[in-house]
């Protein structure tokens, strides 16, 4: 207990020091912005994703720690803040995944409730943005608007909301609305779980209703009653939280479809995308940024941040070997059979992971797997895996490992820093969401070895220059629409 006390005292001292620095940062903001502007180098934005409940998170590594103890979240958040990251990001899970009607047991499972956790992280960080994924399907706008406004107040303007919609009946079994879908949900078919479900009209109205609530208090003023009667929501009354430091928390949207991009262009501040080649990134970047003008927005008003994985080594060869080893860790023998079952849609537990692929054909539209994105075009995937296995003489597990996506950036810190910078300078991205495979130390090496090189290149901040997440991201303060 004595150790715990002294640690906390030390931390509090740090917090006070940083709070003073935070106050000064606003004063110095203009000068710093001017200095950066004179170099004309586009600045990289970085975010840290807490390792999630899927097989990319390697729990069997001896360095892997708790997925639920607060200390793990504190470690990654402090690492990200040490690396001057823009924000810390939590995904959402509202039902444990199931396989063959039983709780899936091979991957990390269990997570905290995101906003509660982020409010606690606000106490142990001073600058880092705090982003939570919150569902528009199983929540109501008044409560969510209030919860994000609360986080924004309690963190001094560091809140962000990743808006998602996932009207699947499996998750719905944990919620009121599943038993009582409203009129519109019935129209749209609540039962039709669609892979990669994009933002529905419900999510768009959910967000615009939240904005009406946030805008109902003038800055330093009194609230006006909100009257919203839309297709999905009916909200009448006064919002209980005064305008928060950021006005509106930063709004994030994830997805790559045309609908996702259009929604992000109309309403989001950050879009999270998949990582791909430099050319694919540039094409997407041009497409997404090109959509903004139609919504009366500037290209800088929406930041494009692909989710990426990074593996570092002292040499390129060492990094490649480490990357291959991580992929082997991610695909245990049991996970290989599971991956196969996801594609084949049938029970393949009798197969040997070190043996050949099954000769059977996949079952289309199988209900074997619940609670995760279904594999699109399963027969094609099965055919591709068979061809790969036959061509290279690979076992089931080797085939799955081989088909697992390569990490996005593999190399020495120098090479990785250069590549990241290239993506941003050539307009394939505005920054990256880093997805580590280890809890909680998965970004330690990146922050220690790559961040200083990005800073040397003049492509990344050496100090935070503003106090809010909007200021880190270079976003404008939202115009009050009272």
């Amino acid at each position: 207990m004595a150790t715990g006390r002294s640690t906390t005292t030390g931390r509090n001292r740090t917090t006070q020091t940083n709070a003073t620095t935070r106050a000064n940062a606003t004063t110095h903001k203009n000068a710093t912005t001017h200095k950066n502007a004179s170099t004309h180098r586009k600045q990289i934005h970085l975010a840290a994703h807490f390792p999630g409940a899927d097989n990319t998170t390697v729990w069997a590594d001896p360095r892997s720690r708790s997925q639920i103890d607060f200390s793990s979240f504190e470690h990654l958040a402090r690492t990200a803040e040490r690396g001057k990251f823009d924000f810390f990001f939590l995904a959402e899970g509202l039902r444990l995944r199931e396989h063959k009607g039983r709780v899936h047991d091979l991957d990390v499972a269990g997570r905290p409730e995101s906003l509660t956790l982020l409010n606690a992280l606000a106490a142990v960080t001073d600058w880092l943005g705090l982003a939570a994924t919150m569902n528009a399907t199983f929540n109501e706008p008044y409560e969510i608007a209030r919860r994000f406004a609360s986080l924004d107040h309690l963190s001094g303007g560091r809140a962000a909301w990743n808006v998602v919609a996932s009207p699947d009946a499996f998750t719905g079994e944990n919620f009121r609305r599943a038993g009582r879908p409203d009129r519109v949900d019935l129209d749209q078919g609540l039962d039709s779980a669609r892979p990669g479900e994009t933002l529905s009209t419900r999510a768009a109205e959910f967000l615009s209703t939240a904005r009406e609530l946030w805008d109902s208090w003038a800055e330093g003023g009194t609230p006006k009653p909100v009257v919203h009667h839309g297709r999905h929501f009916s909200v009448e009354g006064r919002f209980g939280v005064p305008r928060s430091p950021q006005g509106h928390p930063v709004v994030i949207q994830a997805g790559d479809s045309g609908e996702d991009r259009e929604f992000a262009a109309s309403a989001a501040d950050v879009i999270l995308t998949r990582h791909g080649t430099l050319e694919a990134g540039r094409a997407r970047y041009a497409d997404v940024k090109g959509r903004l003008a139609r919504h009366g927005r500037e290209p800088d008003d929406l930041k494009i941040m692909p989710g990426v994985t990074v593996v570092l080594g002292d040499t390129a060869a060492e990094a490649q070997e480490k990357a291959a080893e991580i992929r082997r860790q991610q695909v245990s023998p049991q996970n290989a059979i599971l991956a196969l079952e996801q594609v084949w849609g049938r029970d393949l537990s009798a197969y040997d992971p070190d043996g050949p692929l099954p000769a059977l054909d996949p079952v289309p539209e199988s209900a074997l797997v619940q609670g995760r994105a279904k594999i699109a075009n399963a027969p094609q995937t099965a055919a591709r895996w068979r061809a790969l296995s036959e061509a290279k003489g690979l076992s089931i597990r080797q085939t799955v490992i081989e088909s697992t996506g390569r990490q996005s950036f593999i190399g020495t810190p120098d090479a990785v820093a250069a590549e990241l910078d290239t993506f941003v300078q050539s307009d394939a991205a505005d920054g990256f969401v880093l997805v580590p495979h280890l809890t909680p130390g998965g970004l330690d090496d990146f922050v220690d070895h790559v961040v200083p090189l990005l800073q040397e290149r003049g492509a990344y901040r050496t100090e935070y220059t503003g106090t809010t997440l909007r200021s880190h991201l270079g976003l404008r303060h939202p115009v009050w629409k009272g």
């Binding site: 729990w59 444990l96 905290p112 606000a122 609360s150 309690l154 963190s155 079994e173 038993g179 209980g240």
Partner: protein
């Protein structure tokens, strides 16, 4: 059967409510002050219509900045999702390392109903029946992971033992929940449930689900009668009355050190009357009143051996002398329930 004797030393809790506060620092300073006075817990009220931040968010923000004090936010069960409520309270317990409680409250007003537009305002009896169901399902969800469900067994490649995770399959009047929880079983097993049992409808919830029942009264004899009734009814519901604490909830406004000493006298008198297990002090001005309580009330009580001088344990349950609940799904002989 006679009610168990009142607890000694007394349990002390204080409310942090006071209008117009939106800064984390305000609440952190108050909670630290309460911790300096070795209080068991602080409470923070909530409603969707009153101006103010979400109480559970505020106390989550306070948790890492404190070490021992219990944290008990009011949580609405009428316009919220029981599954989210259970997850948030469990998470407060994780981030505070076992210091969370929650105080379920209902909403009966049209004004709150219109903010959600989902259901009309309902009568107290109806929404308190629902609150009881929410407390019931919350406890089931907290138990839906057994404590040793995470195994990280390299030989079989399993992170969890799914025989130790349980669907709860709860069917209430207004909602159903399949489970299991997404949050593993919290450090205290069940965070502490605190119910203001002054009115009849919440009292029916308190005798079934509360670990701590609050009774608003200024008369020690009335408090003693209320305590005995609560413990009798808890026993009638098959509960061990030793597992329910009854605190007198009294309004407090202190202006001088003399007032604070007088409060210590009042607490001592109530204790002599064997009226209650402790007090929930509803402070008129938390900053002023708490400072005076820590300066003058607490030392007097400590001198009279009516209040402890330090926290002997780390969790709120330990402060209250409440044992960690047995998991309702765990079976001693290793026989599994049919779920999984």
């Amino acid at each position: 059967m006679p009610a168990p004797p009142v607890r000694s030393p007394v349990h002390l809790a204080a409310s942090l409510d006071g209008g117009g506060q939106y800064e984390a620092g305000h609440f952190t300073a108050l909670a630290r002050l309460a911790e300096q006075g070795t209080l068991d817990f602080v409470t923070l009220g909530d409603s969707f219509t009153r101006p103010g931040l979400e109480a559970l968010a505020v106390l989550s923000r306070v948790a890492p900045a404190t070490e021992r004090i219990g944290l008990v936010p009011v949580v609405n069960t009428t316009h919220t999702e029981p599954f989210h409520v259970s997850s948030a309270v469990a998470t407060l317990d994780w981030v505070s390392r076992g210091r969370a409680g929650w105080s379920p409250e209902v909403s009966t007003t049209e004004a709150e109903a219109r903010l959600f537009g989902r259901r009309p305002a309902a009568r107290s009896a109806e929404v308190w029946h629902e609150a009881r169901e929410v407390a019931d399902v919350a406890a089931k969800l907290w138990d839906s992971w057994e404590d040793d469900a995470e195994i990280r067994d390299q030989a079989t490649g399993r992170f969890i033992d799914r025989d130790k995770l349980h669907h709860v399959d709860f069917e209430g009047r207004t909602f159903s929940v399949r489970g299991p929880a997404v949050v593993p079983r919290p450090p205290q097993g069940h965070p502490v449930t605190v119910v203001d049992a002054t009115a009849a409808d919440p009292r029916a919830a308190a005798v079934r689900h509360a670990d701590v029942a609050l009774v608003r009264t200024q008369d020690p004899l009335a408090a003693r009668t209320a305590r005995e009734e609560l413990l009798d009814r808890a026993r009638a519901h098959g509960r061990d009355p030793e597992r329910l604490r009854v605190l007198g909830s009294i309004p407090v406004a202190l202006h001088t050190t003399a007032d604070a000493v007088e409060l210590a006298g009042l607490i001592g008198d109530w204790h002599d009357e064997r009226a209650v297990d402790g007090f929930h002090l509803r402070l008129a001005d938390p900053e002023r009143d708490l400072a005076l309580i820590v300066k003058a009330t607490v030392p007097v009580l400590q001198h009279r051996c009516l209040l402890r001088r330090f926290y002997p344990g780390a969790t709120l349950r330990e402060h209250l002398g409440l044992t960690r609940p047995v998991n309702q799904y765990a079976t001693a002989g290793g026989v599994r329930h049919g779920h999984g």
